[in-house]
């Protein structure tokens, strides 16, 4: 190697090393440590012995881990499906309407994005107060004569999860709306004009031309929804508490994981082994589902 090449290599090292070190220590190392830690039994923060996949088998088959884990996983699935159906389809509708310059769309656009900026913590606590039995929501129902619909929204098992999901949708609808708006605005006008001149109606125009062309952004939103749904934590923490009450009905992988790592599933000391196993499951689920979403949309993607 000559001097010139050495100098180039030195400069490259100079530029990439600080960033790589931080990413290495705080992102990559923890990933491998999670995998490694999940194979040991633990006493507080000290590994005791190598147990192979026993932590995983306990998580999947033993009481109370199995019950809690499956219950939480089911709630995460409800989060994902509700968010896809309610939030992202409304987002697509709003994005479409704004791209068609519906009267007032500039104002709509700016206002829709307001809650997106707020911390989940503040939003969760705010709506937690509004959803209390004596809170604003029930007061409003009383005001319009719908007393029969008043409920302890966060205190009844059948409503609590959906109530929290609705709050989260309230906060986040603006995000997919504006992502879809940008995607639809990118669809070449000539395409639409040609189809329009051929007499293709609005409905068909959307499903046959616009929709196939914005599949990449639908994929991105889907992947973000997967990651978001698996990471639900603050919403539960602020509205129904770390235990995912009432009676674990709002528990999610995130809250279960936190209780396992820092204070146990059914009261007790931290369980690093089981906790790491849950962490690994979260990694694998995120990776697999994202991969499937990307594959699925690749197969349907259309390019001009």
């Amino acid at each position: 190697m000559d001097v010139k090449q050495l100098r180039k290599a030195a400069w490259i090292i100079f530029f990439v090393t600080p960033g790589l070190m931080i990413v290495g220590v705080f992102i990559l190392l923890p990933l491998f440590m999670s995998l490694y830690n999940s194979l040991f039994s633990w006493n507080q923060l000290l590994p005791v012995e190598f147990v192979g996949l026993e932590n995983f088998s306990r998580l999947f088959t033993k009481y109370p881990y199995q019950q809690r884990f499956l219950n939480a996983l089911q709630n995460n699935l409800i989060w994902f499906l509700s968010t896809m159906v309610l939030q992202n389809s409304v987002g697509l509708l709003f994005g479409y309407l704004m791209s068609r310059s519906i009267p007032g769309y500039q104002a709509f656009k700016r206002i829709f994005f307001i809650p997106v900026l707020f911390s989940i913590i503040a939003v969760g606590f705010l709506w937690g107060l509004y959803l209390k039995p004596s809170g604003l929501v029930n007061n409003f129902l009383g005001l319009v004569g719908l007393e029969s619909l008043q409920h302890a929204w966060l205190g009844e098992e059948r409503f609590a999860t959906m109530a929290i999901i609705m709050v989260n949708i309230w906060r986040w609808v603006g995000f997919p709306s504006l992502v879809f708006l940008a995607a639809i605005d990118n669809v070449p006008t000539e395409c639409l004009e040609a189809a329009h001149l051929d007499g293709v109606g609005e409905w068909k125009l959307f499903w046959k031309i616009v929709f196939p062309l914005i599949i990449p952004s639908i994929t991105i939103i889907t992947v973000l929804t997967v990651i978001g749904s698996l990471n639900v934590f603050e919403q539960i923490y602020t509205m129904t508490g770390l235990d995912g009450g009432p009676n674990y009905s709002t528990d999610t992988i995130g809250t279960l994981f936190y209780r396992t790592a820092f204070g146990s599933v059914d009261a007790g000391s931290p369980e690093i082994g089981i906790g790491s196993a849950i962490g690994v499951v979260i990694y694998i689920l995120t990776f697999l589902i994202s991969l499937i979403s990307i594959r699925f949309s690749r197969s349907r993607e259309v390019q001009l």
């Binding site: 990439v16 992102i27 007032g104 006008t189 994981f257 820092f262």
Partner: protein, 284 residues
């Protein structure tokens, strides 16, 4: 556009459709604005007023609540900590991120793709899932209950997307500019500093908002790593505050207003940047 949703010249069916859609969108607007409005006026009410007249206005306007929360309940400290943590973390995200982006986008070498992939590995991984090893690492470094711990984690959180967005941008800058500077005697750092960075300014603005908002709002890592009240950031402080004053709604709404309004004010003046910045990862 050909199929704009305009009332003028539209048939009855289309007019009805436009009207219905506008009604739906307006309902969502009210659902956003009224709860925020109610939050602010509740901060001025007494507890009794909040419970007996939930939709009414406060009888008197006084800033006693705000003074109590800001000074006595330590929100001034929480606020300062959030500013400090977000500011320092963002400074390093931008510095190391732009250096990393420069290192992967402006040189050709064998390990180029590998380095790029290492940076990007964090983009899909949920960092929360790694909280146990992170806790062990932070403990080994002796940084539990130190603001440095969350700053380091926030830098790691911000780097992948920053390198991704900035390197895409830097790739588009013509090499000729670099050659010219080299002939003038600039070394690589001077090229990065004087030529590439100024031209990357629009993308820098983008990644700043893209990362600063989630860092400012983050709750999970400060919750785990910061225990002393004097070191807590705004979201964690708000949570502590809610635990201590669960029944004093008047005070709670004041705390919420203090936590939410600054962001809203910034947004009113820079909404375009916020929208562009926060959707930067999902919109090309």
């Amino acid at each position: 556009m050909i199929s704009d949703l305009r009332f003028r010249g539209a048939g009855w069916g289309k007019r009805l459709f436009i009207f219905l859609m506008m009604a739906i969108m307006t309902i969502y607007v009210l659902l956003i604005l009224y709860p925020l409005f109610n939050m602010v006026i509740s901060a001025f009410k007494t507890n009794r007023e909040i419970l007996t007249k939930p939709f009414g206005f406060p009888q008197s306007i006084g800033f006693k609540n705000f003074h109590t929360v800001w000074v006595e309940k330590g929100f001034d400290r929480y606020f300062a900590n959030s500013l400090l943590v977000t500011g320092v973390a963002m400074g390093f995200v931008l510095l190391f991120g732009s250096m990393g982006a420069y290192g992967v986008s402006r040189y050709r070498y064998k390990a180029n793709t590998l380095v790029y992939m290492l940076f990007l590995s964090g983009i899909m991984l949920p960092l929360k899932a790694a909280i146990i090893p992170l806790f062990i690492i932070v403990k080994r470094l002796g940084l539990i209950d130190s603001r440095i711990s969350v700053i380091l984690i926030f830098i790691a959180m911000g780097l992948p997307s920053t390198v991704f967005i900035l390197s895409g941008f830097m790739k588009g800058i013509p090499l000729e500019l670099e050659y010219a500077a080299r002939i003038d005697g600039c070394n690589d750092f001077q090229i990065y500093r004087r030529i590439i960075m100024p031209m990357t300014a629009p993308a820098i603005a983008l990644v700043t908002i893209y990362n600063a908002v989630p860092i400012w709002n983050d709750f999970f890592f400060p919750l785990v790593f910061l225990q002393s009240n004097s070191r807590k950031t705004l979201p964690v402080g708000l949570s502590t505050f809610f635990g201590q004053h669960a029944t004093n709604w008047s005070l709670l709404f004041t705390g919420l207003s203090i936590a939410i309004l600054p962001m809203l004010l910034m947004y009113i003046f820079m909404s375009r940047y916020f929208i562009k910045g926060m959707t930067a990862g999902a919109v090309k």
